[in-house]
Amino acid sequence: MKAGRRRPRVAVVIFPGSNCDRDTLAAVEATGGEAVPVWHQSRDLAGCGSVILPGGFSYGDYLRAGAMAAHSPVMAAVRRHAEAGRPVLGICNGFQMLLEIGLLPGAMLMNRTLRFICRDVHLRVERDDVPLLTYLRRGQVLRLPIAHKEGNWFAPPEVVREVESEGTVVLRYCTPGGGLDDGANPNGALNAIAGLVNSAGNVLGLMPHPERRVRGIVGGEDGTPLIRGLVEAA
């Protein structure tokens, strides 16, 4: 960061039941951003350049993951922000919300094991040509934890064709070597999709938790490039 320059401001929206909000705020600070908590009842994003919808269990995931949060007052501001081409990142529950409000395509089904799964997975980076992914290289393999029960991405065949032909898949579950293999797909997501961007490239959703991996002492720093990309795009 250049001396004298103000740190980029990143909004982290807090919904009732968010539980990765504190980790996300800390990760933003650790990667050079100014993290700004924004309450779900807020009608604006406090002048932030980027916004993160964090993980957790908004409204307990009691109806469908992310469904009820998608109707929070703040979501209108998030939508405007996205439509203006500004960066939006949805992590886990936040990704589910982006699907629910239609900023990204598809929907989440329950994991094929019908169980909550928390473990490290390997992810192949499929894109590096959008600003949010500046710090990643195409083909690179990341190791990040997942922690969800509804992460089995699904869409009708024509939508799947569209995301593949437009190349909006950014992360796929893979083997440690980067290979695609059904055994490496933890939840049954179609085409092993773990993360998507919109066609403009400014709205990104992913199931794994980069905010949990920004310090080596807790298992690695593979989350840092993702968070940093968002911070610097703010």
Binding site: G60, R115, A147, V214, R215, I217
Partner: protein
């Protein structure tokens, strides 16, 4: 039966009170109690709330020490961590509810222990679950295992507290009574603690959280029903957990405390509003008035009896200064929680409740809480198991023995359990489940907080005193493996009926063993829980005094690991042979649950633990303690199923005792060759043997040129992986 019907000795009995206890009630209040008052006495004088059978013995536990901030008596214990931080922790059982309805029983167990922690002003940072099940072929058992694991996972995952440790074990004595013990560890600033005290006459009493329903009435007394059949059918005995509301409660309460709006606070646990009201009044030496008509009710027509005794989940009782009440309500409503001012604190030490404009009850505080009955139950000291005559133990297929051990559910890889738990929310998990102990960073610092739960119930069944002492020793060893120094203990004492002198004898002996060990290791017991009546049709569970121990690493600089690496040298710290009495080898290979369990050698254990702690903190070694299954099992586990090793046992040892002997307080330690000298120097004065080196793909153990076993590590790991695999499938 109306809530204000006059009490009789029969009614008292139906509520679970004895005739003498009823007499004591009449003496202490000088009149006939009404049914609601009787219910309140029954709840507070129940075993669960009053510890009437255990209190006289619990006094034997050491509860003070230089780090102790709050010992037993509050909602949880508090220990100083340094740097202005404290840790708040406790363990609790939810055995009976989990047997009736495993999913909800386990889930509400997690909810309850979380509330005990954040009610003290601490943010919960980790959960551990110590589980005991029956044989997997016993009726309902797979369903119970599955339900309990899902229930713990769904609750902890939703509230966002990582579950990072615990145990899973199986024994037929739990066929009709599984154990679900959950421990929670929280952290707070030393000056930010809150207590369950209703102090300051004139202060307001606020009810906060879920509405009160007719669930769990009598949960604490477990007595027969006072209502007629049809009424009891409508009243669910099983409570449903609502982790979403719990999460809101955590954030709301911590915000209220942070803003200085709270005078005292306590969750409504067992016996609901009754225990929170009376206990908070008792601790402050004050009284309360309550208007029960104001209590948020889930159903119409709830009576004072029901409102006072409901065990609906996710509720808190809070005391605030009157000018702060609007602020309190504002914060609660912002979090979407019901909050209502229901009464006030009074100087007179009695609780007076009104309902629909008239007095519902008026009871003095002291007789209910401080002067609850205490019993010296008759007990007989158990005779520790005697030596057994073993078949000749030479020329066995030791590899097959090791495989048999690893294939048993007792040694199964527990990944299918804990992969259903969020282990990394909080982004502070340095060492998660699957290791000897969990290690987390205190948020925003480099201070490490470690925790483990331990109990070898098989050993406790053979010798409750030594078994319980060994459980404490094992916890010390497990903490050492992640570099942590023990700072405090919580316990969960699971036993059969205290009215059976043999069971009571097990309890007393186990407690004394635990007390001796905690004194010797200088680790005070700051909180805990007693769970009696764990038996079905007269047959009790194995005595299971679960130890939960918390440790600290002043500055975490390295990630401890429990697996060895190619090229490392392997050392055995501690005795080269262990004992076979009460060992897994005897139980699972020879089919004998027998033999003496040795006493703990505290001096040797403490020295070895200090050595390992130091090496691990400096990042010089990977360590695993020798416990269940002895050296051979520890070696198989340290291989992680990937890299093998060649070990040579010291000359002259007996193979069975060297490979599978337990109770020796040792560690298997792996170090890079350049650190061997540092290790040997650190071990000055303690027994240490170089066993060999890491490499290859097989675990090979030899004795004087004789290869005892030679197995591919991947196959050994595969055996462990199969045991609980069914739990990870749909």
């Amino acid at each position: 039966m109306r809530w204000d019907a006059p009490g009789t000795v029969e009614l008292a009995r139906e509520q679970g009170l004895s005739e003498e206890e009823y007499g004591r009630i009449l003496d202490s209040i000088g009149r006939t109690p009404n049914l609601t008052e009787l219910g309140i006495f029954a709840a507070l004088w129940s075993e669960h709330c009053s510890y009437k059978s255990s209190r006289v013995h619990l006094r034997k536990l050491p509860t003070s020490g230089r780090r102790v901030v709050q010992g037993p008596g509050e909602n949880a214990g508090v220990v100083d961590l340094g740097g202005g931080w404290v840790t708040v922790f406790k363990m609790e059982s939810h055995n009976h509810p989990s047997f009736i309805e495993p999913y909800q029983g386990a889930a509400t167990g997690v909810g309850g222990i979380l509330r005990d922690i954040f009610t003290m002003g601490a943010r919960p940072i980790m959960l551990l679950d110590s589980l005991r099940f029956g044989s997997l072929d016993a009726p309902r058992m797979p369903h119970l295992v599955d339900g309990v694991v899902r229930g713990i996972g769904d609750y902890g995952n939703c509230v966002g507290v990582p579950t990072v440790g615990g145990e899973v074990d199986f024994h037929p004595s739990y066929n009709g009574n599984v154990l679900v013990n959950v421990m929670c560890v929280g952290v707070a600033r030393a000056d930010g603690l809150f207590f369950g005290r209703a102090s300051g006459p004139g202060n307001s009493v606020v009810y906060l959280g879920s509405k009160t329903g007719r669930d769990g009435i009598h949960g604490a007394t477990m007595a027969s029903d006072v209502f007629d059949e049809s009424a009891s059918e409508k009243r669910p005995t099983v409570q449903v957990g609502d982790p979403f509301t719990e999460k809101l409660l955590i954030e709301c309460c911590l915000e209220l405390m942070g803003k200085g709006l709270v005078v005292g606070i306590q969750d409504m646990g067992a016996a609901g509003l009754t225990s929170s009201a009376f206990e908070m009044a008792a601790r402050a030496g004050c009284g309360l008035t309550l208007d029960l008509s104001l209590v948020p009710a889930r159903e119409r027509g709830m009576t004072p009896y029901e409102l006072m005794l409901s065990e609906s989940q996710e509720r808190m009782l809070l005391v605030a200064a009157p000018p702060d009440v609007p602020g309190v309500l504002e914060v609660c409503h912002r979090w979407g929680l019901d909050a209502v001012e229901v009464g006030s604190v009074t100087a007179e030490p009695e609780v007076v409740a009104t309902f629909e404009g008239r007095e519902a009850f008026r009871l003095p505080v002291a007789p209910l809480v401080d002067d609850a009955p205490r019993y010296e139950r008759p007990w007989v000291r158990p005779a520790p198991a005697a030596a057994v005559t073993l078949p000749p133990l030479h020329n066995r297929d030791w590899g097959a023995d090791l495989r048999a051990l690893l294939a048993s559910p007792a040694f199964a890889d527990t990944r299918p359990v804990w992969q259903q738990y969020d282990q990394s929310v909080g982004a502070s998990t340095v060492v998660g489940p699957g290791a000897d102990a969990a290690l987390l960073l205190l948020p925003g610092t480099s201070i490490g907080v470690a925790a483990t739960t331990d109990c070898n119930a098989l050993a406790c069944g053979l010798d409750p005193f030594n078994g319980a002492a060994q459980a404490v020793a094992e916890a010390v060893r497990n903490l050492a493996c992640v570099g942590a120094e023990p700072v405090g203990v919580t316990d969960c004492l699971n036993f059969g009926s205290p009215e059976n002198p043999k069971v009571m004898g097990q309890f007393v002996a186990a407690l004394e063993g635990m007390a001796e060990a905690c004194r010797a290791f200088e680790v005070p017991v700051v909180s805990g829980n007693v769970s009696f009546y764990n038996e079905t049709s007269g047959s009790a569970i194995l005595p299971t005094p679960t130890v939960g121990m918390v440790g600290v690493v002043p500055e975490v600089r390295h990630r401890p690991r429990g697996t060895w690496r190619e090229g490392e040298a392997l050392y055995l710290l501690g005795a080269a042979e262990g004992e076979l009495g009460g060992s897994r080898f005897l139980q699972l290979v020879l089919g004998l649950e027998a033999g003496p369990v040795p006493a703990v050698d505290y001096a040797a254990e403490s020295r070895a633990a200090a050595v390992v702690r130091g090496l691990v903190r400096q990042g010089l070694a990977a360590a695993k303690d020798l416990s269940d299954g002895g050296l051979a099992v520890a070696a198989a586990e340290m291989s992680g199923g990937t890299v093998g090793a060649e070990l040579a046992l010291p000359e002259g040892v007996a193979p069975a005792r060297a490979l599978f002997g337990e109770w020796r307080g040792g560690f298997l330690v792996a170090v890079e060759p350049e650190n061997e000298q540092a290790l040997v120097r650190a071990c000055e004065g303690s027994p240490v043997n170089r066993l060999g080196a890491v490499g290859g793909s097989r675990l090979k153990i030899a004795l004087g040129g004789n290869v005892l076993l030679d197995e591919p590590v991947e196959e050994l790991e595969g055996l462990r992986e199969n045991g609980l695999k069914w739990l990870s499938e749909s």
